[in-house]
C-alpha cells in the first residue's frame, strides 16, 4: 500500500516527461540530441518529414518537461539535452532509495504470503 503510493507519486512527478516522450518525433529528437550533441532547429528539421514550425513546437514541449534547453552559440540558437537538475550526491541517494523500495516490496510479498 505504502509502496503503491510511492510509485504513484513518482509516476505523477514523471508524467510530463512520459507525455513529452510519448510521441515518435519527439523521441527521435531526443535520440538525435543524445547521439549528435547540440543541434540547430535547421539541423534537427533536416532529417524529419515535418516543418520547422512543427519541430519548434516539439522542442517547446520537450523544453517544458525539462528534457532539453536552447543555448545561444554565436548567432545560432542550439538545442541540447538538459543535464540532470539535481547534484550527483542527491541523485546517488535517489538510486539507493529506489533500490530499497524494490527490495522492501519483495520482502513485503515474502512475509505477507
Amino acid at each position: 500500500m505504502l509502496q503503491g503510493r510511492s510509485v504513484a507519486a513518482s509516476l505523477r512527478k514523471g508524467a510530463p516527461v512520459f507525455a513529452a516522450l510519448g510521441d515518435e518525433t519527439r523521441l527521435r529528437i531526443v535520440a538525435r540530441l543524445s547521439s549528435d550533441g547540440p543541434l540547430s532547429i535547421a539541423r534537427i528539421t533536416d532529417g524529419e518529414a515535418v516543418t520547422r514550425q512543427a519541430i519548434t513546437k516539439h522542442l517547446n514541449v520537450l523544453s517544458s518537461a525539462g528534457l532539453v534547453h536552447g543555448v545561444r552559440r554565436g548567432r545560432e540558437r542550439l538545442w541540447e539535452l538538459k543535464p540532470a537538475p539535481l547534484d550527483d550526491a542527491r541523485r546517488y541517494l535517489d538510486l539507493v532509495s529506489a533500490r530499497w523500495d524494490r527490495a522492501l516490496a519483495r520482502l513485503k510479498l515474502l512475509v505477507e504470503d
Binding site: L2, L95, W100, R106, L110
Partner: protein, 158 residues
C-alpha cells in the same frame, strides 16, 4: 513508504518505513535467515548470519550474477534490530573495495496494529568516493538506455 533525510547532512543517510501485515516473528525470520534474506535482497548466501560474522552472497540480480556481495554483520537482536555494513553498488569485479568506507544498514522492527513496522536506514554515503558514485550512475544509465531502446522498439512496432 516514506523517505526522510538527516538534517546534519542531506546526502549521508536514507531512511525507509514500511508496514508489513505479518507478525514480528515472521518478519524477523525473513531478515535473520540468510536464505530468506537472500530471496528479497537478491543474493545467495551459503553461510548463516551471526553477530560479528562476515558473509558472502552471490548476487542474483539479473546481469550481475558474476558478482559477490559481502556483509559484515554487526547486531542481531531478535524481532528488534538487524544491522550490517557493506559496500553499496560494488559492481566492478576487479576492484578491491576493502580499503573503502562501508555504509551501515540498520533494520529495526516495531510491533504495529495488524503487523510490523519496519524501519530501514542506511548511512555513511558522504564517505563513499565520488568515483564510486559515478559507477552507480553508469549502472543506472545502462538501465535507462535499455528502457529508451524498449520505447523505440515499441513506438516503431506501433
Amino acid at each position: 513508504m516514506t523517505t526522510t533525510t538527516n538534517p546534519a547532512s542531506e546526502t549521508d543517510r536514507i531512511e525507509k518505513r514500511i508496514t508489513l501485515r505479518a507478525a514480528p516473528s515472521r518478519v524477523w525470520q525473513a531478515i535473520s535467515s540468510s536464505r530468506e534474506f537472500g530471496t528479497w535482497f537478491e543474493a545467495e548466501f551459503r553461510e548463516e548470519f551471526a553477530p560479528g560474522a562476515t558473509v558472502h552472497g552471490r548476487i542474483t540480480h539479473k546481469g550481475f550474477e558474476h558478482l559477490t556481495m559481502e556483509l559484515q554483520i554487526e547486531r542481531m537482536e531478535p524481532e528488534r534490530l538487524f544491522s550490517f555494513r557493506w559496500h553499496p553498488f560494488a559492481i566492478e569485479p576487479d576492484v578491491d573495495y576493502s580499503a573503502e568506507s562501508t555504509t551501515l544498514v540498520e533494520i529495526r522492527l516495531e510491533p504495529a496494529q495488524g503487523g510490523t513496522e519496519l524501519i530501514v536506514s542506511e548511512s555513511g554515503f558522504d564517505r563513499i568516493p565520488a568515483s564510486r558514485r559515478a559507477k552507480a550512475f553508469e549502472m543506472n544509465a545502462k538501465g535507462w538506455a535499455e528502457q529508451l531502446r524498449n520505447i523505440e522498439r515499441h513506438v516503431a512496432g506501433a
